[in-house]
Symmetry: C2
Subunit: 224 residues, 2 copies
DNA sequence: ACCTGAACACCGTTCAAGT
DNA sequence: ACCTGAACACCGTTCAAGT
């Protein structure tokens, strides 16, 4: 935030505060997101923030809502399966782009307007697809559990396999397997060796699991 | 931690520190888990903790591993489906009993011994059930994504419907629905009304979704 | 209306000093 | 070996004061 004309600076708004809070968390993690640090980034003193948001909790609420605003709503035309697939894929990408978001969901209890709006679009898509209210409840719980949980695990993967050369991956694999108790943990050893091979990427598991979930939902669409 | 004999107190260990850290987070949340607060609970000064753990991060790592130690490993005899079902149910209960745990998973990168051991038992169960390594990878990613995500959502539900009388629930329902933009969010309004009825509990959705996942895995067991 | 300096009650962690 | 007091560089937030 460099300011060209310090005497006539653009007035601070709630939207600017939230946008920079998201950017700061993206770049430096949620631990670096302090009122003082955010203020510094905005070229302002920490106490000025309290004129635009009630407190830090309100910033976290606003950040989660801003994240939901980025998620593609399901298309209203076309088949429900590809519409829901696209929105789940979009949700996952958003949660990986903002790795702090899924951890924040746990503590936020009052959903914002963008969050409510998004939920409404997804539920509407499921209802139009033929799910009963109860069925839409089952489907939504299953779908979002899967996407949230997958993003949680994906963010916890310690390294990015696509960003490494095959040689680096092989070196990492032997390093990890070296002090690995193969006889005590045979299945883990097997899986670790498998997952460290050049062709494997945890991210690819997403589509596999999502297909299983969508197939299951399709089978229950009429019976639920 | 009341001390009967202050002159001959039981020496502090890493295990005691972790046990009390888990208890403190359970009772007061992760925000209340400070080195000073934990020390106070142990009747000690904050700096003494650094003799038993490297730093606060090591405590968080140890807490996550302690949580995994509580999860029931799948049975080795009997069919894989009920074994995996029981372990997923156990994992969910543990994550609800320790609501801070699922939020911590995101930031922990190096799994502890109990965590590795548990993963090994689950993978072994899947391999014995006939899944290939690739298939076990698909299955495990899907299963844990579902359970983690479900626990995440369950912990975020703002109220416990089972702890309320039908009258309280009805009052809450009308209060929420009163300032709800029905025309803007018709599907959300419909679902909210449905979910606030006396018979509904979000927790019940767990078994429904788990069945869909297990059915899907069973269908792919031979083909993956 | 919008911003800020000083202050309060907290943090995690280091380090030298105690027993 | 185990514990601690003082100190450092941080937190979120309040409040009275500035423009």
């Amino acid at each position: 935030m460099t300011e060209q004309d310090p005497t006539r600076r653009v007035p601070l708004t709630r939207e600017t505060v939230l946008r920079e809070a998201v950017a700061l968390a993206d770049e430096s993690g949620t631990a670096a997101l302090s009122m003082r640090g955010l203020a510094r980034r905005l070229g302002i003193e920490a106490m000025s923030l309290y004129h635009h948001v009630a407190n830090k909790d309100a910033i976290l609420d606003g950040m989660v809502d801003a994240v939901f605003a980025e998620v593609e709503a399901p298309a209203i035309d076309g088949d429900w399966r590809s519409a829901i697939r696209a929105r789940c894929s979009s949700l996952r990408h958003v949660l990986v782009r903002h790795p702090w978001a899924v951890g924040l969901l746990e503590s936020r209890t009052s959903p914002g307007p963008e969050t409510l709006r998004h939920h409404d679009r997804v539920l509407g898509c499921l209802r139009r697809a033929g799910f009963t209210i109860a069925g839409a409840g089952h489907a939504y719980a299953l779908l979002d559990s899967y996407v949230y949980g997958f993003a949680l695990q994906e963010n916890a993967v310690p390294f990015d396999p696509s960003g490494q050369t095959p040689e680096e991956l092989a070196a990492l694999a032997t390093a990890i397997m070296a002090d690995f108790p193969r006889d005590e943990l045979p299945s883990m050893a097997e899986m670790t060796a498998y997952a460290l091979r050049p062709g494997y990427a945890f991210a690819d598991e997403f589509e596999v699991g999502l297909d299983v979930v969508l197939d299951g939902l399709d089978a229950h669409r009429a019976t639920w």
